[in-house]
């Protein structure tokens, strides 16, 4: 029986038969549709995924004319530091050089200026230096250049911040105190986002990329939505990108609402609607990779969840397609053969607007 070389979600090479691959596509798609409560893919779509997975070329790419835009999180800092996300640790690469390399050699369509400590809280502390840097770097770059950071509300909890850790309080069955801590931290984060955005506006910054949003759960998502909404009100022309941290918003608080809706448990097709309401221009959807499942399983799951997100969105959707998301294996060096296949599947099946 003919078999195909493919990968597992942790990047290992495996050989699978046609039947095994198709079975995993069906199972992954069903799991995604059930988790996100979205319509299933058609048989034709699953067969197309199968063809892409089984393509025997080393590199699989999109047809000319179907290309999509590339935006970037974490700016160019991964050249000169390894922040735990497979950075290159090139010691002499400055951020300006990095931006220009992304622009002129790596053919990215937009970039962000990112501070090495890539969270709103530390960025606030260096914002005057950063705005000055932006002002000068923007004179040399041609592509859309925003600033960016993660809301990372974890930094507002003990021991880093003034509020008690909600999950610790939960374990002590102090549920109300836990919720109060989340709410207080969320208000603080929204204020800090407001301050950062107010300062970047002063130097004509094109906008802000809110990256890895809701990493601390539902309260962080609401805090960020409110921060983006305020930013949109203060600057109607700002470019706002919002990339999520995971496929679903974890309900650490459970009752946080935005626009009258409880945000906990929301999947990309629901998240994007709130982002639209908040004034976001580009939404970064996430579907997590399961390292114990095959690429076929993960790719089909990613496609079914992302497809509904793109379908309901009135704004462009750039799918997160780095290590461990969007069908890409979770490993330090995501295999090139899978990267192209995963992107082709999301472009053809889910109709994404960018990566």
């Amino acid at each position: 029986m003919e078999d195909y070389i493919t990968r597992m979600g942790d990047g290992r090479r495996v050989r699978m038969t046609k039947e095994q691959i198709m079975s995993d596509i069906v199972a992954g798609m069903a799991d995604g549709a059930d988790a996100a409560q979205v319509p299933e893919l058609s048989q034709d779509e699953m067969e197309r995924i199968y063809e892409i997975v089984c393509d025997k070329s080393k590199i699989t790419s999109i047809e000319p004319g179907r290309e999509v835009c590339l935006s970037k999180d974490a700016g160019a800092i991964k050249f000169n530091q390894d922040n735990g996300g497979s950075g290159n640790a090139i010691p002499c690469m400055g951020r300006l050089e990095g931006l220009l390399v992304y622009e002129r050699s790596l053919t990215f369509d937009s970039m962000e200026l990112a501070w090495m400590d890539y969270s709103i809280k530390p960025v606030k502390a260096v914002i005057n230096c950063e705005t000055s840097n932006y002002e000068q770097m923007a004179m040399l770059t041609t592509l859309p250049l925003v600033m960016g950071a993660m809301p990372n509300m974890g930094l507002y909890y003990a021991p880093d911040g003034p509020y008690a850790n909600p999950t610790d309080l939960m374990r002590e069955f102090k549920i109300e105190e836990s919720m109060a801590a989340s709410e207080a931290a969320a208000e603080h984060l929204t204020r800090d986002i407001g301050y950062v955005c107010q300062e970047i506006d002063k130097v004509g910054c094109e906008g802000f990329n809110f990256d890895t949003v809701a990493s601390a759960g539902d309260a962080e998502f609401v805090a960020t939505l409110k921060g983006m909404e305020n930013y949109r009100k203060s600057n109607p022309n700002a470019y706002i990108e919002c990339g999520m941290s995971a496929e679903t918003v974890l309900g650490i608080h459970g009752g946080m609402e935005y626009d009258g809706k409880v945000v906990a448990g929301m999947y990309p097709h629901e998240q994007v609607k709130l982002c639209e309401k908040a004034g976001v221009n580009i939404f970064g959807s996430v579907v997590n990779t399961n390292t114990s499942k095959s690429f076929a399983w993960n790719a089909a799951r990613s496609a079914v969840i992302t497809k509904e997100c793109v379908k309901v969105a009135n704004i462009p959707v750039h799918a997160n397609m780095g290590m461990g998301v969007g069908g890409i294996p979770m490993c330090e060096l995501p295999p090139t053969d899978i990267t192209g296949r995963a992107a082709k599947i999301l472009i053809e099946i889910a109709n994404i607007d960018g990566i």
Partner: protein, 104 residues
């Protein structure tokens, strides 16, 4: 990762018209096909030609939109963005910021 995406799926950035298309996604919330059509219409070309490197290079050079190679007297950065404003019919906030810094 970045190389693989650029190679397999990306529009090509300044090498082609990716930065222009992406700018319209940001500026007007345009989905990919609408953004491509908008840029193609402004450049008076077919959307399929948006990723045709050498064809686009000539257009970018002629319009002063910035090219990726070291061409003397071909604008990059701020002056290129000011030309992009004109071609795409939009205002870019940092161009506006630098214009406001000029003394009268």
């Amino acid at each position: 990762m970045a190389v693989a995406h650029g190679l397999c799926s990306g529009m090509g950035g300044m090498r082609t018209t990716g930065d222009l298309v992406c700018r319209m996604q940001f500026a007007k919330n345009m989905k990919i096909d609408a953004a491509k059509k908008y840029v193609a219409d402004k450049l008076e070309i077919d959307p399929f030609q948006l990723t045709e490197e050498n064809f686009i290079r000539d257009i970018r050079d002629k319009e002063g939109l910035g090219v990726v190679t070291g061409q003397p007297n071909s604008p990059k950065g701020l002056p290129a963005k000011m030309n992009i404003e004109k071609v795409l019919g939009i205002t870019i906030s940092n161009c506006e910021h630098y214009r406001n810094q000029l003394k009268k």
